[in-house]
Amino acid sequence: MVHQIVEYLRNADPLIQMSAAAIVLTLLGIIFALTYYKKWRWLWREWITTVDHKKIGIMYLICALLMLFRGGVDALLMRTQLAFPNMNFLDSQHYNEIFSTHGTIMILFVAMPLIFAMMNIVVPLQIGARDVAFPFLNAVSFWLFFFGALLFNLSFVLGGSPDAGWVSYPPLAELSHSPGPGINYYVLSLQISGIGSIATGINFIVTILKMRAPGMTLMKMPLFAWSVLASCIVIIFAFPPLTVALALLGLDRIFGTHFFTMLHGGNPMMYVNLFWIWGHPEVYIAILPVYGILSEIVSTFSKKYIFGYKSMVASLMLISVISYFVWVHHFFTMGAGPGVNSFFAVASMAVGIPTGVKVFNWLFTMFRGRIRVTLPMLWALAFIPCFVIGGATGITLASAPSDYQLHNSYFVIAHFHQTLIGGAVFGLLAGMYYWWPKMFGFKLNETLGKWAFWFFNIGFYVCFMPQYALGFMGMTRRVYTYPAETGWGSLNFISTVGAYLMGIGFLFIVVQVLYSIRYGERDTTGDPWDGRTLEWSLPSPAPHYNFAQIPTINGRDAWWEMKQQRKAGSLVSENELKPIHMPNRTPLPFLMSLAFFVSGFGLVFNQFTIATVGLIGVIVCMLWRSLEDDRGYYLSVDEIKQTEASVRGA
């Protein structure tokens, strides 16, 4: 293994050698800084061993933004290569690696953790709970995600990146066609983070169903919590097929079986089916919580109750069911026959109906509302038209005959970027701006945020609108260059300009965060937006136990109603404080995920001893957890009083 890695690095492109050096230097820098400022203990006690959902959420957010940077650099490299015909910036192998890691990272290590960040930070606060149902498991999920992402990124410097696309279809992804360790990295890192995702799904369903504050019936629950429930239901049913697809692909590659090979009776299409039985629901896992975020933001900044609450709930649930019956639209061209293709075409188009309901409800909520165009609202406003176009192009693709023309063309690229950037990313950025004060206690600077917004938005359209046309002109996806005679040059150049505009937008966000850490407006009230749901009833950032007293809920938009009652002077006096039960911090989630990582790393290089050692580590951690008697501890009333006095500034 060591030999393989050294060989790889010696023969690698200077670009990769330089990156390897840069990574080592950064690591040394971080280690030095932590030692110099004596922060190791702090890191260990406050973050690595924490089980607090708010801190876990922040760690998800940080990792997601770092990964967004990496995925973004990948994107700019690709767009640079495509800017002109016959470019020689990247060779074909590099191009293959870069689009593969770009796609995988953006979906699994950016979109997913951003969703998990919002869920973790907001859901317990919104439903009046002190933590999630299983805080220990929640930490396990995070660390599995973390080590999964780490393993995936290691491939770049240790042995070679995966290069068979983010879908890694066999036979291309089989050992016969991709002999290096790249695809093994893909299989194992997705497997490790996937286990964490299933655990998160279970955790949040139980949290939402069992831990709502008294009086908060399901139909009084904020829509974001509903959307997370819908998304988590999709997670627990959609991820197992991915687990199986990856496991079988891994068996083919590591143990020489024949599930998806071309020889000995294997059937590659079986992988494609399993992959998309997860893959399509996956895009809804990413977008459903965004619908929830939109509903919160639109309602808050229009100062109105959301229009059509019940139809919002119904459409969320409907989408989560339908999203399960459309997967074949990703390979109509497999030729399953008119009957099958028609079924999946109609089912795909049907998704548009509940989605349309949501869009109209947002519009009706804004209608005659008192709209405040703050940063979160700005991104929400940009989301709506962008996502509608994305949906419309989706319907175009869902019609099987037209998909025969458009499949694997740049039209598809434009479609899913429109839904994933214009949908998921815009919505998640809106959510990040909205809840940022709750997470960190200060607002992000508006002016810098507006610059970021306009660069990103204009950049988005400049980048992706030309790609629809390129698709019609016959440009296929995953080509690393093209001759001048195709006539694709000018549109590609425009597209690249747009990509760089988005890159500038991202830089503005970075500057905005750094600037605001020092100069951002502090949030002393805990309710900077005049919010409507329970999280805004707490100080920013919320104390580690969240609620000193669990509130009793009488209606939707509970905090809004409490504020109205308080104004009317009719708010009932509060009960006495009681000791609060808290979970202990623990190193086990970190250690267990580390063991998973070791095991995965061993398997990547067919080193079964290392793999077994890792697995034994996992089992030891599980048994340790099962046998230890960890009942948490109690916060006394005095401690609660002290904390409340200091965070509420009273």
Binding site: R130, F134, H264, G265
Partner: protein
């Protein structure tokens, strides 16, 4: 935070007790639902690939009726003894509960032993996992179930140890209820394997 950590003593547990245990039970049901989809995916793969024998051994040539009948008998019986353990739990008989768990574990071990033996026999006849797509799918499906059973055995043993140490309490009771649920679930999956893999296999 160390300073604030207190032992659970006279303070009235606020969020502990039945409510806490209910969360675990719901969570576990959700896990089982998810696991069921995992098996469904493996079943689908098996059904697609079962005829892809590539000129190698077929189901009818491979499967021996007495062997898989015995496996079925052992696992079904273990489900029954697991049920008896549950009964003992309801009646609060800790020792009987541990006894029935022990019987269940022994039956489970016998099942796994015979399955391993079955796999070794097939492999020695040249029917390895690498021989054909059918065999890959067979070992993947049946082997995944076998792995689950082995995990279930480890889990039951760990629950039994805790029962010996702490007797019946809300936590240990819940742990046993979940482990038992898991065990019955694996039995149901086995019935499907029995039908789809073995019976359909020998009937051709």
């Amino acid at each position: 935070m160390e300073a604030t950590e207190k032992t659970i003593s006279d303070q009235k547990p606020q969020e502990h007790g039945m409510e806490e245990e209910e969360k675990y039970v719901l969570g576990f049901w959700l896990f089982l639902a998810s696991d069921l989809v995992l098996f469904a995916s493996l079943f689908a793969t098996y059904l697609v690939l079962r005829t892809h024998t590539d000129g190698g051994p077929t189901e009818a040539q491979l499967f021996e009726i007495p062997v898989f009948m015995l496996e079925t008998f052992l696992l079904l019986t273990s489900s029954y003894t697991c049920g008896l353990a549950m009964h003992a739990l309801k009646n609060g008989h800790a020792r009987r509960l541990i006894g029935w768990i022990a019987v269940t574990v022994l039956l489970g071990l016998a099942f796994v032993g015979i399955e391993i033996n079955e796999f070794i026999t097939y492999s020695s006849e040249g029917a390895t996992m690498q021989r054909s797509a059918f065999l890959s799918a067979f070992y993947a499906l049946v082997g995944t179930h076998g792995l689950h059973v082995s995990l279930g055995i480890v889990w039951l043993i760990s629950v039994a140890i805790q029962l010996m140490r702490k007797s019946i309490q809300p936590t240990t009771a819940r742990k046993f209820i979940n482990a038992g649920l898991y065990w019955h679930f694996l039995d149901v999956v086995w019935v499907m394997i029995f039908t789809v893999v073995y019976l359909m296999g020998v009937m051709g």
